[in-house]
């Protein structure tokens, strides 16, 4: 048990290299499977996800309907697969604006320092002072339910996290000798920032991007659950959970299956993010 500290330190790189990739691989496999299911949805599903059959509502799982049918007689399995399309698409689209805006603002603030940095810090603190769902709910109420509401709400709130991550990373990177060298060689601020600083800070923002997609999917699902998200009849995991909720005690799979889909997707993405951290950390 009592290993000498030096020995531990020596062992670490090897073991980490060996085990970092499993995280990446596991993440890629899990998330890849979800992504593939979403992309190939039309080939996988057994039924049209929107086709109703009022006479065959709420059937239990069977060979015909792998996860049974919902309250309008729609095939739950087919909806589950199509929901992956909806939620992944929305997750991916939603993070674009916050990612770009947050990374840019964070870089500028971290690079410029001083007043600009303080101003950004103030903005970040103000947005963070509001509990997350308070802001999101208010903005969605303002903009209107549906995808547009989600995009706008998250664009206004989500940039903060990227700005924070990038700002810290930039402030560290600016102190590096090669940045000083680049500045002294007469390069413009813009060029230094884009060519010499950003490449070093971007990986952290990208890693956070993966985690953020998980957050966004959870948030979208929560909004749909509250009736403020995706509009019917589009299948999404949140509204599927909400639809299944009255049958929680009698037909538990209706609400648990879409929830598990969210969890599996989230685990895949997070493992992928961890793997990337380790991979880029080694460089």
């Amino acid at each position: 048990m009592t290993v000498a500290p030096a020995a531990v330190a020596a062992n670490v790189p090897q073991r980490r290299r060996a085990l970092a990739h499993p995280s990446l691989i596991a993440g890629a496999v899990v998330f890849g499977a979800v992504l593939l299911a979403a992309l190939l949805a039309p080939l996988i599903v057994t039924h049209d996800p929107a086709a109703q059959n009022l006479g065959a509502a709420l059937l239990p799982p069977s060979g015909e309907h792998l996860l049974g049918t919902d309250y309008l007689g729609r095939d739950v399995f087919s909806r589950l697969v199509y929901a992956a399309r909806t939620d992944l698409r929305i997750g991916a689209v939603t993070v674009i604006v916050p990612f770009v805006a947050g990374t840019l603002l964070g870089s500028v603030a971290g690079y410029a320092g001083g007043r600009v940095d303080r101003l950004l810090g103030y903005l970040v603190d103000t947005v963070l002072a509001f509990p997350f769902y308070v802001l999101i709910l208010a903005i969605v109420a303002m903009v209107g339910t549906g995808e547009r509401g989600i995009y706008v709400a998250y664009a206004l709130v989500g940039w903060v996290a990227y700005a924070r991550v990038t700002r810290t990373a930039t402030a560290v990177a600016v102190e590096r000798p090669w940045v000083h060298a680049a500045r002294e060689s007469g390069l413009s601020h813009r060029r230094v920032l884009l060519r010499h600083v950003l490449p070093n800070t971007l990986p952290q923002a990208v890693v956070f991007l993966f985690t953020d997609v998980v957050f966004v999917i959870a948030a979208v699902v929560t909004l749909s659950y509250l009736g403020l998200g995706i509009q019917p009849p589009t299948a999404d995991w949140g509204s599927m959970i909400a639809d299944g909720r009255p049958f929680l005690t009698t037909k538990w799979w209706l609400a648990t299956a879409p929830g598990l889909a969210v969890v599996v997707t989230g685990v895949g993405l997070s493992l992928l993010a961890d793997g990337l951290t380790d991979l880029w950390g080694e460089r």
Partner: protein, 317 residues
């Protein structure tokens, strides 16, 4: 020790000033935000009976026809002089009173969620840190990623299904059974959402601690590993964990509001959902402003605490 007091005090003063600025921003944003939501309290109250005449009459009575600057002036003077955002448009009770009456379940929820979060994340982080890159580390990693991805309402539903409906250990919701019985499941739900965040930071911190000189010294002195962990490492981890909860209070509180809905707890979240539903502007403003101010305060205190606790940060200051 003395030398570090002055910069620390200056740092505190700066932080206070900044918190004051944030508070002002919060007040203005809260005021504008609620007014941009379509629909008004008159329509909300009348519901299916919302005829144009009735709505117009009620709008007049509720004072919704004032100009925006006039409304802001009234709002600001009341906030400054009474610390209140006005009487509810729905039941006429001053918002401050409403918030005080609804504070209890939310405080219980946040307190217990904090306790649960610390109690869950410290052992998990320790387990992961002591088996770094081993099986335990990966198990903890997957468990916590699953925790991040689980929407709080869904976790809540599953907990209700298992512990209340199947096992009957806890009430399904509400606070009629009193505290803390009523609050155990909701607090656990809120904790599950924040544990992953805590475990990640703590694990990193513990890895550092385990590498620290004093641990090596203790090991060299022949102290059993278990004793080192229990006596020295664990103790040094609990408080940072608590500080971490403080830093993430906004996230915890936001989650708590959703959790209140799932468990039908009559707390601030419930008050806010109702107020948004009925466009009860004074109440939405009140809840938003007071929760935001609480977040600012907690962040201020924990940031300061973190600075005091962490020698590296203090040196940097």
């Amino acid at each position: 020790m003395k030398a570090s007091v002055t910069p620390l005090a200056r740092r505190a003063a700066h932080a206070l000033l900044r918190a004051g600025g944030v508070a002002a921003g919060v007040v203005v944003i809260a005021f504008l935000l609620v007014r941009l939501i379509p629909g008004d309290a008159a329509t909300a109250l009348l519901g299916s009976r919302a005829t144009p005449t009735a709505v117009a009459q009620l709008r007049e009575r509720l004072g919704l026809n004032e100009s925006l600057p006039a409304q802001f002036w009234h709002f600001l003077t009341r906030l400054v002089t009474h610390g209140d955002t006005g009487a509810s448009l729905v039941n006429g009770v001053p918002t401050r009173e409403l918030i005080l009456a609804r504070l209890e379940p939310t405080l219980w929820l946040v307190a217990f969620a904090t306790v649960f979060a610390v109690a869950l994340s410290v052992p998990l982080a320790l387990w992961a840190a002591t088996h770094r890159d081993g099986l335990a580390d990966h198990v903890v990693r997957i468990l916590t990623t699953a925790g991040i991805a689980m929407p709080a309402f869904w976790t809540g539903l599953l907990l209700i299904l298992l512990f209340s409906v199947r096992l009957g250990w806890f009430p399904v919701g509400g606070v009629r059974d009193g505290y803390p019985t009523s609050i155990v499941l909701p607090a656990l739900t809120a904790a599950v959402a924040i544990v992953p965040v805590l475990v990640r930071s703590l694990r990193a911190e513990l890895v550092e601690v385990l590498r620290a000189d004093f641990v090596a010294t203790l090991r060299a002195a022949g102290l059993p590993e278990r004793r080192i962990l229990a006596r020295h490492v664990l103790r040094n981890a609990a408080l940072p964990a608590l500080v971490l909860v403080g830093t993430n209070i906004s996230y915890l509180l936001g989650g708590a509001l959703i959790v209140e809905k799932v468990f039908a707890l009559p707390g601030l979240g419930d008050l806010m959902f109702d107020a948004i539903g009925s466009r009860d502007l004074p109440v939405i403003q009140g809840v938003v402003i007071y929760t935001a101010l609480a977040v600012v305060l907690v962040t201020l205190v924990t940031d300061h605490l973190a600075t005091v606790l962490d020698p590296r940060l203090r040196r940097a200051a």
